[in-house]
Amino acid sequence: MGTDTASGGTWADIRARALGWRTVDIVVAAVLGVAVGVVFWLWNIVWSVTTPLFVAFPPAQAAVYGMWLISGVLGGLIIRRPGAALLTSVAAASVSAVLGTQWGVMVLLDGTLQGILPELVFLAFGYRRWGMGAAVLAAAAAGISPAIRDNIAYNVTWPLHHQVVYGVIVVLSAAVIAGVGARLLTTALARSGALAPFASAKG
């Protein structure tokens, strides 16, 4: 599924793609983020009842964490331009900021980090590989952000080995749920014809 585009200087190619954003790239990246953001916002209302369970047993929360990281990977896989993962992720975070969360504008920082990390993975592949491998790695990278953040924000007094286990579960969950999930969704979306304006139209 990795689609190689025209050869030529990798950097020149990346530069051209980074500068050539069309309106449709920008808006669809942002709308994707908002769509994912609103699902999780509604989802949170439904699932807030289960919070006590998660509170008492943090690994359970870590295991489903991947869901929350799908936006950046999905944006990258669909739009296929440098910065798409970042834009989608920030858009998803801005939904929470606008609708109201106890973190307020700080979620924008989370969104930025969760977008930059998968962006780095796509960059490492020269923005040419969009297959399952790249998706899983990008999602795992995105998972690093909450893995570290939670350990220094929530679980500060935990012994190191607890923190490491927690972090590993978060990253694995991200790789499986966000990575595999985003890749499968992209394939399905391409089959439905919705991605016609994008390079991902062929899957």
Binding site: R22, T23, V24, V38, W41, I45, V98, L99, G100, A188, R191, S192, G193, A194, A196, P197, A201
Partner: protein, 516 residues
């Protein structure tokens, strides 16, 4: 708005053609057309003839940097220059107001175009004021766009186009998504506007009768070809009306007349008792609390009868439909099965397991896509019979027969989302209908089933619904479609201000009010 002193743009196409990216056939080809400054032109043609594509091309949206990719041939000039988006004096108003409003406040949204054109701030303020006044916008510039009705939103969209002071006004079915009151409002605004401006106008509209007074010329396009008729509305309809109608175009004086058979009437199948509903939980911490949509609605749905819900958008028609279909729980009261339906399960419909519900109550959503759950047309049709426990062979035979009847055999293995609007509608009705021959659900609930359909799909649909009614099924539909109401509705219920009131009942049905 277009300054009264400035003349409209001149449009010239010669040998123009367009092929969408990834398609083999041209959407349009060999289009030769000259539109003089100030002319008002209606583009007409069967579904899929590329009318909207031509409008987009005139707006300069089909280049490499746009969302619409494909190959262009021939020449398309606006005032002697290749069309360039925004800057060439063209403005476009499309169907769906939701996707055309960019900003959260009315004034900011109107200012969006002028900002992009680099108009200095003082100039923008002046244009915003003028444009909002021209469309009779009833609120101030700081009014939240999210709080507007559909008709108000579309008026704001028109204001946004006017603020760019266009010399070429392109209208792509501007009233299609509105309820009758909203559509009247927008048509009124357009009529007044066209008296004041000298801008050239090109209009695409599905329901021709309603806009024919706004134009002085009709141009008929043919799929894969060019202009096949061109002239004043009266003469074009006289010469080509029958041919257009045969292609499914809504032509005044050529309304379809499907045969629907008589309504047999029958026992009550569903009864809404004291049903109340509220708006869904608002998004965000700043929204007001949930408000009531329906209050104390009582309604009986009878077998062999077509019940139509009418009323303005947002008044609760769709909410009432989802309650009648057992998809959601009412806030108060209940929707109860009666008669033969109660034999399946006596509990309120909302508490039925999904599988049982799907067997007895079919629902057709306004957007056909919402109800597709598989990846191919064939799987979509197989889904219900297989889940109902029918054998593989029986299912295949039934699916094959359905594909033939729906004229979808050649498309059996494509994704349902890639079908055309009419094909999607036919498929969505088929999926809701049955798990096998003679297993149609007792009640069929439809939300705006005829929306946006050409006359051919429209007629097929009305005939099918008539047939189901003759078989003694109950049909419940929410609709604005006046012709559908006249052809099919036995009982009309107006939903407005939280109430549902029966407003009409046809003679044929009146005779079967009692139990058979």
């Amino acid at each position: 708005m277009a300054e009264d002193g400035r003349p409209g743009a001149r449009v010239e196409l010669s040998g123009w053609g367009w092929r969408h990216a990834g398609r083999d056939a041209h959407t349009l080809r060999g289009v030769d057309l000259v539109i003089d400054p100030g002319e008002r032109v209606l583009l007409l043609g069967a579904s899929g003839t590329g009318k909207s594509t031509l409008l987009h091309a005139l707006a300069g949206l089909t280049g490499d940097d746009g969302a619409i990719g494909g190959d262009e041939e021939g020449l398309l000039l606006v005032d002697g220059e290749r069309a360039r988006r925004g800057r060439a004096g063209a403005a476009l108003v499309a169907q769906d107001p939701e996707s055309q409003i960019v900003m959260a406040r009315a004034g900011d949204d109107v200012a969006f175009g002028p900002e992009n054109l680099g108009v200095p701030p003082e100039g923008i303020r002046e244009r915003v004021g003028e444009a909002l006044e021209a469309v009779g916008f009833p609120y101030g510039p700081r009014h939240p766009t999210g709080a507007l009705s559909g008709g108000e939103k579309q008026r704001l969209v028109i204001a946004g186009a006017l603020a760019m002071r266009p010399r070429l006004l392109l209208l792509d079915e501007p009233t299609a998504n509105l309820d009758p009151a909203g559509a009247d409002l927008v048509r009124g605004v357009l009529g007044r506007l066209l008296e004041r401006t000298r801008a050239t106008m090109v209009l695409v509209e599905h329901r021709v009768a309603e806009v024919v007074d706004l134009v002085d010329r009709v141009v008929v396009l043919e799929a894969g070809g060019g202009v096949v008729a061109d002239g004043p509305p009266r003469s074009v309809f006289a010469d080509h009306g029958a041919a257009l109608a045969a292609q499914g175009v809504w032509v005044p004086g050529h309304e379809p007349a499907p045969s629907t058979g008589a309504a047999p009437g029958g026992a009550v199948l569903l009864e809404a008792a004291g049903v109340a509903a509220r708006t869904p939980p608002g998004l965000g911490v700043r929204v007001p609390p949930r408000r009531p949509v329906l209050e104390n609605v009582d309604l009986a749905v009878r077998a062999g009868t077509a019940t139509a819900l009418t009323g303005p958008n947002g008044a609760g028609k769709s909410t009432l439909l989802t309650l009648l279909a057992g998809l959601a729980r009412p806030y108060r009261g209940a929707v109860l099965p009666r008669g033969p339906l109660a034999a399946a399960d006596r509990r309120p419909l909302a508490r039925w397991p999904a599988r049982r519900l799907a067997r007895h109550v079919g629902t057709v959503f306004q957007h056909a896509e919402d109800q597709f759950v598989t990846g191919t047309v064939r799987d979509e049709l197989r889904f219900a019979p297989l889940r109902a426990g029918r054998g593989a062979r029986e299912t295949e035979a039934w699916v094959g027969e359905l594909l033939e009847r729906l004229r979808l055999t050649a498309l059996a293995d494509v994704h349902p989302y890639t079908l055309s609007g009419g094909e999607k509608r036919r498929l969505s009705v088929a999926t809701a209908l049955s798990s096998g021959p003679s297993h149609a659900p007792d009640v069929l609930v439809l939300d705006e089933p005829t929306f946006g359909q050409d006359t051919r799909t429209w007629s097929e649909l009305v005939e099918l619904l008539g047939e189901l009614r003759s078989q003694g099924r109950a049909v419940v539909m929410a609709t604005h479609d006046g012709l559908l109401l006249r052809r099919l509705a036995d009982v009309r219920v107006r939903v407005a201000r939280g109430r549902a009131e029966e407003t009409g009942r046809t003679a044929a049905e009146g005779g079967t009010r009692g139990r058979p």
